[in-house]
Symmetry: D2
């Protein structure tokens, strides 16, 4: 039998990490022996686990060790990290370490080093000062790439229970809850973060406009609650369509009926912006005088409209190259305290891919499957709210601002 000794420290019990560790070992048909377990006697104190993982083969030991590391164990006799040089651009050795979105440290030169720019599905490259996450496509020949899982320590987020009223929501996704309470909580959070000058980023899909939440989002931006917008071409088109023609997807926003020539209003909108040269120009020339995009440009918050295969136009500001768009998204999402994901699975998953797991993430969608998919793709920290995003945003804006227009 092969054996390896691991340590895990922190709020192991209440965060469920201890359960995960033991379950993982047993499910995989391996065995364990607990060498020491010191439980935090009170809520304030941390626990400590020392455990032997016992497997039949080296292979299994290796595989299972890697998974234990991902949920917060590290080897007691941590070896120095092994970095191997990349032999070609965009290529790394087969045994590369693949990151999670949790806080991570690497052991070398006799001590633990914090990893910068944490995100999931990256490799870790040894920099001059510190190790950092790098996307595979950004790896250059000769980069020194981390290839030893056994020198890594990962810190899955513990639920900050006392300070965090959102914790209770993280259990499940149900369409049978009152949205009323969550409206209040999110409004309170927005108000607090504005006071504290913390950054809130909104990821928004066109349903925000179709479902009648456009003015509410515009008001939240104008009043300084939002510090960045990640979106696609469609929401910008439909937002400006609603400003220019009072329709979205050709449906009149007042009467709910299809409007005269409504079907072509989104193309007329793009044409009008093309005439101006850009959305920015349209604002400067007073062609565009209200709405989400207007407020975004007026307030000067950073934004990115990422292109997609289904775009009409696209608008001049839309970033049609995905490598570039991902770069801009990643820049905007930096140092964010909270992300509100509003009815767009595509951009929400895209944003989740770039974010560390300790950012508060709220996903509002009428379809409960969206949150399940986010979690399936690694953004397990996302709290799901199943509601009508238009009605929801209007209620949040009313609490934050009062009688907004």
């Amino acid at each position: 039998m092969k054996k390896r000794r691991f340590i895990s420290k922190g709020h192991l019990i209440d965060s469920g990490i201890l359960a995960q560790i033991l379950n993982l070992i047993v499910e995989e048909g391996a065995d364990y022996e607990i060498i020491e377990f010191r439980i935090g006697k009170t809520n304030a104190k941390e626990s400590l686990l020392e455990i032997d993982l016992i497997c039949e083969s080296d292979d299994k030991l290796q595989g299972l060790s890697a998974r234990l590391v991902h949920i917060g164990c590290y080897e007691k006799q941590t070896p120095e990290a092994v970095f191997k040089a990349s032999t070609a651009d965009k290529c790394v050795p087969e045994d590369f370490y693949s990151t999670t979105n949790h806080r991570t440290e690497v052991f070398y030169a006799g001590k633990w080093h914090s990893v910068k720019h944490q995100r999931m599905d990256a490799v870790i490259v040894a920099g001059d000062e510190y190790p950092e996450c790098r996307k595979l496509r950004d790896v250059k020949k000769g980069d020194r790439v981390l290839c030893s899982t056994e020198s890594v320590r990962v810190f899955p987020p513990a639920r900050e229970r006392e300070s965090d009223d959102f914790g209770f929501m993280s259990g499940d996704v149900s369409s049978e809850r009152s949205a009323d309470f969550t409206v209040e909580k999110i409004a309170a959070e927005l108000i607090k973060m504005k006071e504290n000058r913390e950054k809130v980023v909104v990821v928004a899909g066109p349903v925000v406009v179709h479902s009648g939440g456009g003015k509410a989002l515009a008001a939240l931006i104008r009043e300084g609650f939002i510090g960045g917008l990640l979106a696609g071409n469609a929401i910008a088109v439909h937002d400006m369509e609603s400003v220019f023609f009072g329709t979205s997807l050709g449906v009149c926003q007042k009467s709910g009926k299809p409007a005269y020539e409504g079907h072509k209003n989104h193309m007329r909108t793009i044409n009008r912006i093309n005439h101006c040269g850009s959305i920015k120009n349209a604002v400067d020339q007073k062609v565009l005088e209200s709405g989400i995009m207007y407020e975004v440009i007026k307030s000067g918050i950073p934004y990115c409209l990422a292109g997609s295969i289904r775009d009409d136009g696209p608008l001049p500001e839309t970033v049609t190259d995905m490598i570039k768009a991902q770069g801009e998204y990643a820049e905007i999402i930096k140092d964010t305290s909270m992300v509100l994901m509003l009815s767009t699975m595509l951009h929400s998953i895209g944003t989740g891919n770039m974010m560390p797991s300790w950012v508060k993430t709220i996903c509002i969608d009428i379809n409960p499957a969206v949150v399940t998919k986010l979690a399936d793709r690694g953004s397990g920290q996302a709290i799901g709210i199943v509601s009508d995003v238009g009605l929801f945003l209007r209620a949040v804006a009313a609490r934050c601002i009062g009688d907004y227009k």
Copy 2:
């Protein structure tokens, strides 16, 4: 080739009936010849169709004729209706006529007779004065049951286009519409119907309470907008649980968190009502002093709580026998101008089964599949709104009443 000549009159084109007739014939591999077609020159005028149905066999002619009748054709040479005596209780001859929920007439004694108590899936029994719909289970031995489709005339509802702002909504079911407009329309309709003393019946599931719409519905009842409530045991339990303990399904309605002993609050509620003997008694004894059930009892509007296999309790007022419950539902739904179906597939389908198709039917649910199922089961007149029922009801109540409590 076998041939039969049919007439159809009315707004054949704009209601789509003419298209249905021709499509049906062709899809079934039969043929037609149009003998005469007089189109209504203007919107006010009716059209008239005279058409020969041509089939290879008598059998096919018979089957297809029956389906044409259901969509509004009748035989030019209408024969006298054939009524056959039932040979046993709950039994009818194999060739019985099975009803739709559309307005229907039967030809006998040389003229057309209107059928009373129209509903779907019934048989037509010859009464002394008029023919009437009867449920199969209510047929008595000796009842004279209609067995000739060729003596029937059905009037599918034409869209009342000018007078009816809801018409435009009937196209499809989408979660991407603004609920704002429909909130306004439904509020306007409720206000108008209250003025006109028209009856509005609500069919409601427990999600109304869980999603925070309980107070809004209670206020609408108190202010006289609602003329009847069709529901189950669960909404009554959870409504009173929220009044007694501030929770629904054990979740605190203020904080959104599970409450102390919340899990047993629905059983405590039932126990408390059992101590009083009935909900009515609880109101009289001032044990119950607000909420949906309180307002229902105070206002004296008719209601029925139909039992189901998943009931806890049930409450004393819950009708546990389904035959009896269907009878009470049918009584309450009589002479109704509008039905609002709020997040309960079970009771909505049950109610749809009993109603004529000309009653305005609005179904509000967060799940788009519910409306599809309603239509699959014959209630094709239902207009679906995909939204968060709690937020939706609160918005409707605010428009109808202002600042309700």
Copy 3:
């Protein structure tokens, strides 16, 4: 500060119970001190926790203690149980103990007694030999009802990890999994249970027939894989409609097109059975010669068709009184090893209400929300599979039986 000392034993960590205990205390703003914690050194060994719960008020201590009991703690100095006499039929004292669906023991006469007939939302009545669960409505005046939570010990199910291949599925509900593996697992389980003469009960809705799974279910019954059927009137009607007329809901099962007079086939089916007097008679008279109901009756397995407000007919065998139907369901579900819930939320929740939590429960539905609702209503043990129930059942039957007809 008020204090109470609790014990908890078992697989506290891997089942997540220890995490639940600590989280609950902290979320409720109380405090704890761990007096002793002995961890099971290996997977085979149990852990033991001794912990002080510390609250500001007696009230809070009382409320929180009750919730700790529900997740597996019991008081170290367990007091004798307090039973109070019911003062009226269907009524219990306000401080009654409300049951979970987990295994439960009560302490009196100096020792722990196992509770019989475990189910959720019941009270515990002292019998001559043992304490037992009783529904509130079955309580008689004078019954001695348990009123002391502090004398109760609850055993939430630990995941039987090694022996149970289903464990891994319990995490979440996703439509993005391959049904292939779950088909194989369920087939293997059915085969094993048949060999071991364990009882498998199916809870089935009409979608089983509409989606083309009727023959597969019939074959599984015929071949002895199923030991009981819990359903409603609708699946029986549509099953026999498909046998008699080749349609379900009027749609031809071969061509997928609406059939001649298909709309009335379900009424013709009921009429035909009414002529026979019962489904049983129809089988005896060789009127009904295949299908789900035929196999149920031929095989002699117990079944119950519970009525509902949306029933047509109903069929003679349908139990229209819900009190009676719940009684029959409860009888059939006894001593069951596995329950398959097939596309019926209503009957699945109803069945879940009556079952102890240690029965393997699989819920197959195309709508992910159904499993969420089951869990919201206490049946947290249900494993959800999001798939097309017709295709799924056919695949399971093919694995169990080979080339079935």
Copy 4:
């Protein structure tokens, strides 16, 4: 009152066009007078309508006329088309004509001209030989752009009833249908189209792989049933991950359990392909020897992997610029007889945007909302099938090929 006379010809009744025309006029508060109506006496014969549209204002007349044109009316006194020169790249005059995806003709030089490259949301530019659809972004300064709706004739698709067995499915989207029949129909269609050398294009999302349909799709490609693949980066990654490591999204495809280091398998896959330089190279170097991408490359059918904001990698073949990707999609979709859209809303809407409406379009998804959204965005011809795509594809492949591997 203002008046304009329109003609409409064709299968006006059974296709519902006549109803649409009259309803539109009345809903918009305008009036009509029918000048002549000649009904096709039999199914084979076309109908002819001559109608006056009557409005209060020129403005309304103008707006409503445009909408009538879109559903198949044209002005009796058709004026010569007005083309106006574009004053800048990507810009057109405000009164430009915006296309539908239906067959279209323009009247000038005294006769009707067919428009080439039909697609929705384009403008029509006068070419030397014929008018053609052009995307707004491809308009060059000086291009002559059609600006007169009154010179246009649109031909919405009539249901080809006799020859087309899919017609009956187009009614609605229900999860309560048997997939069995649709499996058979689609298999038959694939077999027929292969024989006739008609092109079938598949639009596929990663759920095809996750849900276990990868081998089935690969087999269909290998056997020559598929003539093109439109997809994104993700399905290619997960397809090759399943070939290399037996997992998709890290979940073992045999056991359904998370695999050793499974979480990084998609990154290892990309890394492996990066080492080869491309998917093509991986096939040539025998690194990749089976699966969807392998069969695509071996068979030489055209394909495009369009990038998106949520991509990992991306793979070398992924087209990261959306303008370029839309161009490649449009090229592949040309001259296609049938499109199968498999569980990807993004790429399905993208593809629908580029296609004429007369291509048979089948959309298979477990979520009924996907088809509703497709229709909301103009692809109203799409027939929706709500099923488990993995089980569905396996069943289709089994019918087409027999015992595939």
